[in-house]
Symmetry: C2
Subunit: 372 residues, 2 copies
């Protein structure tokens, strides 16, 4: 199923050009990490003057289906990566046709872009998820709801993030008209409700070790608090027994290996009242729930991703302190003090327009360890 | 002597533009630190495609005496700083005339650009240096040499760095013809030989504290090893008694306060066999001997300089581990392994041409503490 696995990576020399598809805060923090390692960065993004381009050597402003722009971009890059998982498959194909390698590979994108493929893939490698049903018609929805006790979470199979494209269905049938319209418009999936105790995630890195062999390293799990479908806080360590933490690490490792993954990925889980761990979704990229890593670990997720895709040996993921990471959304960035206590790292993304719910910055507090 | 002291700084909002004069590795590492704090950076440098411009939002390629380019640059910057101390006074004056503030201030530049002014200033605030004599003529040199036991170090008053513009004079008179030519060509200084045991330096940061008041913080001293006048290694902690370390910190603090300094500066010392501490020189900027700080302290010198000039509260300079920093010069960068052990940070500067003696990268090893 996984094809020929990567056996070795040739390290890119410093001064090489790393291409990044996408120009938001994840691209920006990746670009800064790449610059710190001596690489030049080329950002490909449809928007002018995006946060990532403003810290990068080169930028292409073009659509993701602009074949000529993609070919020119590919010709200038020694390796290409991406900051978001909804990169069209065709975009990756064009870049590869023009001779540049894309890391992580297309398989990781395919498996994560479609919630049905994602859950099927996870279950297929022995990682449990919530129960789910693919829906083509309203009748499918009614049948699936009946099986899930009359309630569930309706999601589009593609293109949802931060809670977008989701409808919560309860026994009162109140949201059914919206649900029927959504199913008519787009392929959907019904997920059974997961009355979880908490949400956790792990950041997984797969790349070369010092001997040049491929290894997988997993950061400590974080506990994640969402508001309106958007991550608001990540706490480390997560308040879970070590057996749960180990299970999350093992699932992350299994996923990275099954995908023959090179780079950093994130996998989110629900911790159920009975101690079961159910995977929710994974993202083939650096992740908001790993924003605490640069300030609390010997290597942060952004540096780690660049090291991995550049064929450099991974750094240690050892955690040196506890941490709390808070997202600042929209106008929150204007309400914070300009002065922070000494144990706090404030990381604004250089976005000028604080639209409601827009991720503008994050703050990481380093805390003395409570438990290990 | 020091004029009205700075009492308060208004914090720049993230998204503001920080201008940097100079585009080498110090500018690059400053720009990366600024990007991490959400600022846009504008590099002013006479060379195309310099290392700093490749990680910055904006670049002006123009000479330091190009008044129109300086005025346009100043108009786009919320604050201006520099990565080297030989910025012409006229350049700073043009920028200030165009309405942008330059931090650190012109006084710091004036005092550090001329070795005679520098030593006179240091002695004037009670910081001892080696004995020195200003020279106008060959006769001055002979008189000064007689006073210094027939030997000494002849230096141009201006524009020397990394051992350039220096002639070592010993009792055999062997180098006297070169010395006489140098004195004929440029104003010089004779320094008495300092048969020091070791060289140390401190990195000093002066800026706002959390209450908005001005404070001075000093990083732990490093012990510095030079080869051919170029820094090769910095070791932390320096192998000196704590009384010497305290004396170095106190001198650094005194200097920053006397200059009404905002930003990071470095001051180098000779430790003499009798335990005396003699200042050698200071640099009104981030410094090669502080390259270990980002990897071994809670705040690194680059972030600290940006925080200071942006009016943000300084971060803690607490050292979390011991460290060894090595410069990689010229072809050394091609001779290193592409894989480093996990406790090592490799920081290449993105320079393409490894000329002999050119600083290409540095490596910082984090070490478990030996002594505190």
């Amino acid at each position: 199923m996984t094809g020929a696995l990567t056996r070795a990576l040739t390290p890119l020399p410093s001064g090489a050009v790393i291409g990044i598809l996408g120009g938001g805060q994840l691209g920006r923090l990746l670009a800064l990490a790449a610059g710190q390692l001596g690489f030049d960065v080329h950002i490909y993004c449809p928007e002018e003057n995006c946060p990532a381009a403003r810290v990068s050597a080169h930028a292409t402003v073009a659509a993701y289906d602009d074949k000529a722009a993609l070919a020119a971009f590919a010709a200038q890059c020694d390796i290409v990566t991406y900051e978001f998982e909804n990169v069209p498959a065709q975009t990756v194909a064009e870049i590869e046709r023009a001779g540049a390698e894309v890391r992580p590979n297309a398989r990781a994108l395919e498996s994560s872009q479609d919630r049905l493929a994602e859950k099927t893939f996870l279950n297929g490698i022995g990682i449990p998820t919530v129960a789910f049903a693919a829906l083509e018609t309203g009748a499918d929805l009614e049948a699936a709801l009946a099986g899930f006790g009359g309630k569930g979470l309706l999601k589009t199979r593609r293109d949802g993030y931060d809670g977008k494209g989701q409808i919560r269905l309860s026994a009162d049938g109140h949201a059914m008209p919206d649900a029927m319209s959504l199913i008519d418009a787009r392929p959907c999936l019904l997920e059974a409700f997961a009355p979880f105790e908490r949400e956790i995630s792990v950041i997984v890195a797969r790349g070369a070790n010092l001997a040049g062999e491929i290894e997988t390293l997993v950061f400590d799990p974080s506990e994640n608090l969402h508001e309106d479908g958007i991550l608001k806080r990540a706490l480390v360590p997560a308040n879970v027994p070590s057996a749960i933490a180990d299970q999350a690490r093992a699932a992350g490792t299994k996923l990275a290996e099954a995908l023959d993954y090179i780079g950093v990925l994130a996998i989110e889980f629900f911790v159920m009242p009975d101690g079961a761990l159910l995977a929710n979704e994974f993202a083939p990229r650096v992740h908001n729930s790993g924003h605490w890593t640069p300030d609390a670990c010997l290597t942060g997720q952004f540096e780690q991703h660049i090291r991995a895709i550049a064929g450099w040996p991974l750094g240690p993921v050892t955690r040196i302190c506890d941490a709390e990471m808070d997202n600042l959304l929209g106008e929150e960035i204007t309400q914070i003090p300009s002065a922070f206590p000494a144990d706090t790292k404030f990381v604004p993304y250089g976005k000028t327009e604080p639209r409601p719910g827009r991720k503008m910055a994050h703050i990481t507090r380093r805390l003395p360890p409570k438990n290990r």
